[in-house]
């Protein structure tokens, strides 16, 4: 599966053809690292650019879809409102794979309602939160995910408790909840691949440090803290559909295998023996425990691939609604006459 960047993938595209315009974010920003992984994953999975749409809200994170997958359509919506736009776009064309990129302000404050309802409806999309605890474009105000008691030069003290967006997703009924760290490219790639195969909304809360305003080692949203404290629940392996599934040697109970909707498989090699990623109550408990103990817990916190997505619940036809012909769009004259007759 490893390929050099100049080498074409299964559909004849090089890695370069998955890039976008040059990033205008700060040098060293965690978001750039995540964009690179999205590019790498799309390339490795040989995704067709026309089958992907990119969506975002407003903020530093939300600028980034311009910097990857330049051959895919994208839309930069309003602050906090990307979930609604995604819902509509994916109803109009349920055959598309959607990658949404949001930030902690976009998701955790102005768009919290939209976010939770997206998750609740299980709109099939990858929802990446580039979480750095601050508002970057407006110069460093605290977001709702900032550490309680944190002090920052510009923002001052933060007396309010930290909002955990993975918990919010879990409580809203999300079937794919993961946390990762922009410094752990291997884990991000595996999670992105699995998320793209998920049946509904896949939430990836990725701690993505803001080098301008919130990267002191003491901050839980910094590179230093992440590198020193990241504790993974498991090593994640992703096996694409159609590929032969080979299980490596493992102790009983060490490997958790999750079949995904499209025939692919996630293999979780457990580092925390008792953790069961299919147990939602356990996931909620474990995330809260990690908060209590100041742990930086990463991995696939919860997976349930049985819940149908919105477009399944809607019983939509195979043909994307956007591609219906004029005849399919406009009912017949008989239909009109029959409807009017009831009012005569």
């Amino acid at each position: 599966m490893k390929r050099g960047p100049g080498q074409a993938n299964n559909i004849g595209l090089t890695r370069n053809e998955y890039t976008g315009s040059a990033s205008t974010l700060c040098k060293g920003c965690g978001h750039n690292s995540i964009s690179s992984q999205i590019i790498q994953v799309a390339y490795e999975l040989s995704l067709k650019p026309e089958e992907i749409i990119k969506l975002s809200g407003i903020g530093c994170s939300s600028k980034s879809p311009a910097y990857f997958l330049g051959m895919s359509h994208g839309i930069n919506a309003l602050h906090g409102r990307m979930p609604a736009v995604a819902t509509g776009a994916l109803l109009a064309n349920a055959s598309l794979k959607a990658i949404g990129v949001s930030g902690d302000g976009d998701t955790g404050s102005i768009g919290l309602g939209n976010f939770k309802h997206l998750v609740r409806r299980n709109v099939r999309m990858v929802y990446v939160i580039e979480n750095n605890g601050v508002y970057g474009l407006t110069k460093g105000q605290f977001s709702s995910t900032a550490d309680e008691g944190q002090e920052l030069k510009y923002a001052g003290d933060n007396p309010f408790p930290e909002m955990d967006l993975c918990l919010e997703a879990l409580i809203a009924g999300c079937g794919f909840v993961a946390r990762s760290f922009a410094g752990d490219v291997k884990q991000i790639r595996a999670l992105l691949k699995a998320a793209l195969s998920h049946r509904g909304t896949a939430v990836l809360d990725i701690i993505s440090p803001c080098v301008a305003f919130n990267n002191q080692d003491i901050s839980t949203k910094s590179f230093g803290y992440g590198r020193a404290n990241q504790s993974s629940l498991h090593e994640i392996g992703y096996v694409p559909p159609m590929e032969e599934i080979i299980l490596q040697d493992h102790e009983p109970g060490e490997l958790e295998i999750v079949e995904l909707h499209d025939g692919s498989q996630i293999q979780l090699r457990k580092l925390e023996a008792e953790y069961d990623a299919s147990d939602r109550i356990e996931a909620v408990r474990r995330v809260q425990l990690s908060q209590e103990h100041d742990e930086f817990l990463t991995g696939l916190l919860y997976i349930d691939s049985t819940r149908p997505s919105l477009s399944e619940v809607a019983h939509l036809v195979e043909t994307p609604l956007a591609e219906l012909t004029a005849d399919q769009l406009r009912p017949s004259k008989n239909d009109l006459d029959a409807a009017l007759k009831r009012y005569m």
Partner: protein
Amino acid sequence: MEKRNNGTRLTHRVVNDFSIVVSTANGTGSQTANLGLLRAFFDMGIPVNGKNIFPSNIAGLPTWYHIRVSQEGFVGRKEPSILIAFNRATFLGDVAELQPGGVCFYNRDFGLVPDRDDITCYPIPVKEMTADSALKGKLKEYVANMTFLGVIAEKIGISVENIEYALLHQFGGRQKLVEPNIEVVRVAFEWSKINSVKSDPFYVSPLGKTHGKVLMTGNEAGALGAVFGGVSVAGWYPITPSTSFIDALRKFFPEMRNDGEGKATYHVVQAEDEIAALGIAIGAGWAGARSLTATSGPGISLMSEFVGFGYFAEIPVVIWDIQRVGPSTGLPTRTSQGDLASTYQLGHGDSKHVVLLPSSIEECFQFGYQAHELAETLQTPVFVLSDLDLGMNSWMGDPFPYPNEPIKRGKVLSSEALGSGPFERYKDVDGDGIGYRTLPGNTNPISAYFTRGTGHDTKAEYSERGKDWEENFKRLRRKFETARGLVPGATKDVMQGSSLCIVAFGSTRYAIEEARHVLSRKGFPTDFVRIRALPVSHSDLSLFKEHEKVIVIEMNNEGQLCGILRNEMPEVADRFISVAYLDGMPLTSEWVECRLGKHLEGWS
């Protein structure tokens, strides 16, 4: 006039031209009786209109149902001559408001007696009439409303068969449900015949004026129009008076937009708020499906940012605003035309939108499909401004003709049409201000672009350059001029020798048309221009050149249309005189007549 009983007996008969008000508490099941009565008139061939004047409440507060019958076909609101007083709480007030010479049918069990000697009264012993009914509890309460149906039918000349037929329609053809109701109607009818003497002048008599017509609400007609316009995705949030638009959409969709194998070619999402409702519709419009949302004033306020986004990123979407009285929560169950100015320019910064202004169920249907055509042609949000009166009340109309223009999807480039390009999303290739767009899923590698609400150049690339901004807005203005040539033009009705011209839009036409009729009989002919869209079309601009006085009538406080017309037609701006009024009730012909009188030479 000969005085008789406790009322006044007029020597002449008033046939097929009066208004009835049924006063009840909401939640008492009176709507079946109200609509049954309306339907009975309609079935007799008498032109009708039914208006529900209801409270923002689930049960217990007063509600009034107005029925207008009119030999001449005028269906605007008219002050009622007949009161059916079935709400004890408002009894005295209702009686006090009745026109002199009017008639009061009332529930005798209240123990109250109308304290007027200039009206005719018919007490109805409701308990006695329903005593034999087998129904119990709430159902017995509901069926009590059938007593007034029976008595009024007997007194004004509707047959029990007519009532039965109307109720059958009301109950969707289920005879079993009609039975216990019509039984009470019969009892009441017979009682009335024997126990009270006709002593009022109001009668109905069959006419042939409703044959082949439909009776429906504007919201139903609009939703039907949207379905025939190919709408596929709707996002919405419940709000009076637009909710019944979506209810109708959800009724028509499964009947007409399934693939025959249980799969849907549509979806309706009840969103978490109006912001998301429009966001969903805009997302669908961006991805290539015809989409809409329906809302009212407070929802429009919330949608403002998304409307600006849709305008600037140039995404087709249709927004129905069923206007109610604002600002703020205002009067949620009363009608107004107060959102004209705000929707026309909704959004921060410079933005201007196409606003369609239906006045009838026929136009709700027609604009219902045309709005989608315009939105995709112009790649922009299009508003349809209806109001509570038009949207929720029952109107007569001709059956809607099947749309004969084929569905066109605007300037969308397929992979083949795009070929080897070049492709610049916002370039004005044709000089009409409208660029070419591509949709997600397009396999042509040069088709992709990044849609954004931030400043952009013709290639949709982020740009903060002043020149790019300026050029983009020049093009958007060109596009708006293109819109001017595409929107439905105003209608103009001319009377010989008229000295003034009336201008209006939407549902006020009914009161205005009746007033013009009355005025012309009195020797005051008028012209009437009805604006059907903003921006006013090219042809509209010439309509006022010959008039020295143009009276702009509208149901808001600020004279919003008048302000817009003055702005759009500076050369004739001083001719526009604003007659704006709003109290939440639909205008009456009498009011219009009175307000116009001031501007008529020789009026006294």
